[in-house]
Amino acid sequence: MPFTLLRYGLRSKHASFGDIPSTPALKRSYDVVIVGGGGHGLAAAYYLSNVHGIRNVAVLEKGYLAGGNTARNTTTVRSNYMTEESVRFYAEGVRLFETMSQDLGFNIMYSQRGQLTLAHSDATMRSFHLRAEMGKHVGTRIEVVDARTVKELVPHLNLDIGGMHEVLGGLWHADGGTARHDAVAWGYARHASRRGVEIHQRTEVAGFDVSGDRVTHVRTNRGTIAAGQVLQAVGGLNGQVAALAGIRLPIRCFPLQAMVTQPLKPFLHTLVSSANLHTYLVQSSRGEVVIGGGSDPYQLASTRSTLDQKEHLAEGALHLFPFLHKVKLLRQWAGITDMTPDYSPIMGASPLANYWLDCGWGTWGFKATPVAGKRMAETIATGKVPDILKPFDLRRFDSFALLNEMGATAASH
């Protein structure tokens, strides 16, 4: 391996990398049409084409590849949830991230450094014990730690926070990590397109033709195509796209805002999150500190940023790391989160027989990119929803079988 690398480095001519093909003309018919060219849709396309041998697949993307919430999330990968169903599902996602660079032959810069959630009250400590026991039961690496261990894990952290939000302890999740969001999408897109999946950018869905309980055609701004099956994974627009197929979803949209600082020397190894301060921080491999966690206080479908939320995020970050006060912000943005009532996603069947849902991903979608893609592809290929997805069915709201994960979001909203 080192010699191969050395030879490669000394070579004067390099073969081109093999980019993602440009958008072809639309065919008249596809076995599977995936609406949404973000991480989830591309992961599903990858598993359909590379694992299940279904290659007549079109991915329709309204904008450019992975330019929506895949580009806007804060790249946290973890499985420290509250309910057994969720922990099992997200733990499979973490395992897929661990081998993704090798599986795809594409460096997604996965860095499993552990995630630390801070408790500033006894009530939070109690909920951490619940989450830790559930995580251990399922077999993930998770434990409740005291303030001294928090200090050892994050030496630069300000523990007393002016007496207002004293850190009492934390939930240490050694399986937690971060990865490069764009690379995840590009890696899947590259392998999917090599197996014949067509990726159609600038292709917006305008409507669906429904006959009985089946979607027959997908109407787009570039023409109408026949579809054997349809998968919807469109992030912030899930409510609107589902409505085009006559499906109502229990979703409310809120913008989630984030920002990054100028690059600093590495000082923050772990991912740090505080629900009380509505803030979480991670230092990227480039040294930039990514600060996220601020949902807007009212429903909105615009990705504008507000000074109020940015100040709020900065305040939380400064409470935790006061020495960041002179650091400049480089970029800031917002994404539209499609929030469900129980803070869990909606995956699986819809009221239409050949229309599948992968939505309601709110503020927690990136970590599930590989596992949602894998399991939704399995669902489409076999026509059967696998057991691991059944708790996330849309019909859970009709029977009050909610999957409450409100307390397990990285920063409460």
Binding site: G239, Q240, R248, P250, I251, R252, C253, P297, Y298, Q299, L300, A301, S302, R304, T306, L307, D308, P341, F397, D398
Partner: protein, 83 residues
């Protein structure tokens, strides 16, 4: 600073207001509408009617706001919608 006009106190900083969610078409008092009322809240792309509270004066009001442009079109007290 974003301004919201309270029908009692005039234009105020939106930070003085609490968002109470969309005005709901479905009623939790009607058994047939319970699931709709609990889980399927309004989420339009466009004008939404919503409840707000001016916190210092405890004034409950309704705002009509565009959910894409974030423009507030009208505010009024409940049941006092201007003609």
């Amino acid at each position: 600073m974003k301004i919201l006009t309270c029908p009692v106190n005039g234009p105020r900083n939106i930070a003085e207001f609490q968002y109470l969610g969309p005005v709901r078409a479905a009623s939790a008092e009607e058994p047939g509408q319970l699931i709709e009322a609990l889980f399927y809240a309004e989420n339009p792309l466009g004008i939404m009617h919503e409840w707000w509270r001016h916190m210092p004066s405890n004034t409950i009001l309704i705002a009509e706001r565009h959910t894409v442009t974030d423009r507030i079109v009208a505010t009024y007290l409940p049941n006092q919608k201007p003609a």
